[in-house]
């Protein structure tokens, strides 16, 4: 199932609101109520978390529960960074390093491979592409956890960031996405023309392909960023408690300061903020990218 259009950021989708036969596209009252309800349900837990993060512990168990913000956000956030057993600041720094490295590497690897699969001819191409799709089915995280740990022990890399980063560079979805995207965005003729002009493959990739698939790279970056920022199991196993990623640090907060709700919630709110920012700034692109990706696969 493929479609002819793709939309770069800001490109208008083809849904002109022309009043055609319509009644299937008319929003009834019931529809509006349901949508409103869904939106509230989606936002409420996060709203509630932020409310708690701005209150004091004394407010938390009050009946009825507080639904408006208080004024303790600043001191709660300060307390999170001072909570010595959670190593929250280390967690943030580690997560930034890991997420940035993985995102950059995955985008680069996927763009290279995607171009080769989409626009170049070579023996075994189809078999290789099929194997990429198959690897998307394998839950490497759960399956490989014992041998990966054994590997890192043998290399002496336990508690290091490279041990967290390396396994995540294997991202079949990224290769697949960029293959589909390059197919759409880079017409064969363009590549051929560049060849006739005597450009090498590497030059074609750099001068022709990369500029054309930038929107796809952006979508992949955002998705990889979200995925890795939220990763929990592997860092939990390979890193020491005093050197966590942000997700592991929240769990530590949750465990060691369990009655200090405002602290736990302030930390959790802090961990979501980077992604919320990405979401606020690139929301439209994320939706566009998700929709593109879905239509193309």
């Amino acid at each position: 199932m493929t479609t002819v259009q793709h939309s770069g950021p800001g490109a208008r989708r083809h849904r002109a609101p022309a009043p055609v036969a319509g009644d299937v596209f008319r929003a009834t009252v019931l529809t509006k109520v349901m949508l409103g309800f869904t939106a509230i349900l989606s936002i409420f837990p996060i709203y509630w978390m932020i409310i708690i993060a701005t209150r004091s512990n004394a407010d938390v168990h009050s009946i009825p529960p507080p639904l408006l913000p208080g004024g303790n956000l600043g001191e709660n956030i300060k307390a999170v960074f001072e909570a010595e057993n959670a190593h929250f600041l280390t967690g943030i720094v580690n997560s930034v390093i890991v997420t940035a490295s993985v995102t950059l590497a995955v985008v680069l690897i996927s763009t290279l491979a995607g171009f080769a699969f989409a626009s170049l001819q070579f023996r075994g191409r189809n078999v290789l592409l099929l194997s990429v799709v198959l690897t998307m089915m394998v839950p490497l995280q759960q399956m490989g956890v014992v041998p990966l740990y054994q590997m890192m022990v043998t290399l002496g890399w336990t508690n290091t960031l490279q041990a967290v980063i390396l396994p995540f560079l294997v991202n079949g979805f990224g290769v697949f996405l960029m293959t589909q995207y390059t197919r759409q965005a880079v017409p064969r003729e363009l590549v051929e023309a560049a060849r006739v002009d005597g450009a090498s493959t590497a030059r074609i990739w750099w001068n022709v392909v990369v500029p054309a698939v930038r929107p796809g790279m952006a979508v992949l970056s955002i998705q990889t960023f979200m995925l890795i920022w939220n990763e929990f199991l592997w860092p939990l196993i390979i890193l020491r408690a005093d050197n966590p990623t942000v997700q592991v640090a929240i769990r530590a907060l949750n465990e060691k300061y369990s009655t200090n709700y405002v602290l736990v919630f302030a930390g959790t709110a802090l961990s979501i903020i980077p992604l919320l920012l990405v979401f606020v700034f690139f929301g439209r692109q994320i939706i566009g990218g998700l929709m593109d990706g879905a239509v193309k696969s």
Binding site: A83, A241, E255, K256, S258, N260
Partner: protein, 450 residues
């Protein structure tokens, strides 16, 4: 809970603190070698390069209470800096597996690790993971400790691998405000008279429940079970789940069955708040007065004051525990064989387990010192816990520990304990029927023992 320097600590008077710093300089009580080794070698290694010694501990709230001890050491030892790291709240299910994983892997563990008594059986069976402390002259410390505390630190090859930090002792913490509401006496002497044994303790619980139907009497099954089991073990050859040949005796040991039966009785009488120890709601229950009593070793005081918070200061009190003395918990420190600086680590360990280090920890978190001189020190003997209605905590706990005989812990004790505690919780909360609980308890224990 947040390492609040002014938080509910068992505070000795500030005057005592200043006296302590003076005596620290003139340390060495009766030529026991207590602390002298450290000062001597500290000057010797002064020329060496700077090393950092990582100390890993467990426990929630104030855990080991090493903040002030570490601060004092780091000030006076510029070349050996201590990094003190509390890794996890729960010893059995979080800290121990994690540390074991690092010991197996050969990297990741700190230079010094804290070990709870229930894990000592397992660690003693793995001599390869730890340094022989006698190499660094720490065998001279033998006279400082009660015999059982010392012997537990010897591994299966008879080598010294760990020195004691604190001892648990045993008492019963109770909410005097709730006792008052229920028309029960609130004075700790009189409260102790209410429950010379466990059956009378149960009766007090029923009285309280008839007056305050919404309040539970105990926190949950786990604390009561452990308390009773270690008390009863004294009558059963000091054994709990394993005998000295490492055979599982969970089914035949009367200590286990007695503790189980009483826990069941208490639960069926509807006196339990059904809370699992070390969870969030358990901590909240201490704060909100969800239950009126909780068995408490000395280190538990810091947990309660940390969890219940300043607003409840003076509502908790401490009385003698039913059924006489007992000891639950207490820890040891060991130097791992993966440490790159075993000599310096041994110096730090020597300091932390010295009378001085233990008194620092006592003032910070309430764990009673395991050194004999530490226990007799006026700081402990005269200590009054402000948070617990000025209870003479030092005296209460020291008395309960002196007559204790050491309990033997099998190699797989922690795994078995973690597994059977889940069954108790399940039965208390209703996911397991009490009628089937004992069979399940035994079966889970057998499975965990492998």
């Amino acid at each position: 809970m947040l390492n609040s320097k002014n938080g509910g600590r068992p505070l000795a008077a500030a005057a005592v603190a200043s006296v302590l710093t003076v005596t620290a300089a003139a340390c060495g009580s009766g030529g026991t070698g207590d602390g002298t080794a450290a000062t001597a070698s500290a000057s010797a290694s002064a020329a060496a390069e700077k090393v950092t010694i990582t100390v890993q501990t467990f426990g929630s709230g104030e855990n080991f209470g090493y903040d002030s001890a570490v601060e004092a050491w780091n000030k006076s030892h510029p070349n050996i800096q201590i990094k003190y790291d509390n890794l996890a709240g729960n010893f059995e299910s979080e800290y121990l597996p994690q540390v074991n994983q690092w010991l197996e892997a050969g990297s990741g563990a700190g230079d010094i690790i804290g070990i709870d008594e229930s894990g000592m059986g397992q660690m003693a069976a793995r001599p390869q993971h730890f340094v022989d402390l006698a190499q660094y002259g720490l065998d001279s410390r033998k006279a400082d400790f009660p015999e059982w505390k010392w012997n537990t630190g010897l591994n299966k090859d008879g080598k010294l691998f760990a020195l004691g930090t604190d001892v648990g002792g045993m008492a019963m913490c109770y909410r005097s405000d709730l006792f008052k509401k229920a028309g029960l006496p609130t004075d700790r002497e009189e409260v102790a008279k209410l429950w010379p044994d466990w059956d009378s303790y149960l009766k007090v619980g029923q009285q309280l429940k008839s007056k305050l139907p919404k309040t539970s009497f105990v926190d949950g099954p786990v604390t009561i079970f452990n308390t009773l089991m270690v008390q009863e073990a004294g009558k059963a050859g000091n054994l709990t789940f394993f005998d000295k040949e490492q055979n599982l005796v969970i089914e035949s040991n009367p200590a286990v069955k007695t503790a189980f039966d009483f826990t069941k009785k208490l639960s069926e009488a509807g006196l339990s708040a059904k809370l699992a120890a070390w969870t969030d709601e358990w901590a909240a229950g201490q704060k909100n007065g969800a239950f009126a009593t909780m068995a408490c070793p000395s280190w538990m005081l810091g947990v309660i004051s940390g969890n219940a918070g300043e607003e409840n200061a003076g509502k908790w009190d401490v009385a003698a525990v039913p059924g006489g003395a007992g000891n639950w918990g207490g820890s040891w420190l060991a130097v791992t064989s993966q440490s790159k600086h075993p000599k310096e680590a041994a110096e730090v360990l020597n300091y932390l387990t010295s009378k001085e280090g233990q008194l620092h920890a006592f003032k910070e978190a309430g764990g009673v010192p395991s050194t004999l001189t530490g226990q007799q020190d006026p700081v402990v003997a005269d200590a009054v816990n402000e948070y617990f209605s000025k209870a003479p905590s030092g005296k209460i706990f020291a008395e309960s520990t002196q007559s204790v005989s050491p309990i033997f812990f099998g190699e797989k004790h922690t795994q078995v304990r973690a597994a059977v505690e889940q069954v108790l919780l399940g039965a208390d909360q209703g996911s397991v029927k009490w009628g089937e609980a004992w069979a399940k308890f035994v079966a889970e224990g057998q499975m965990a023992a492998g």
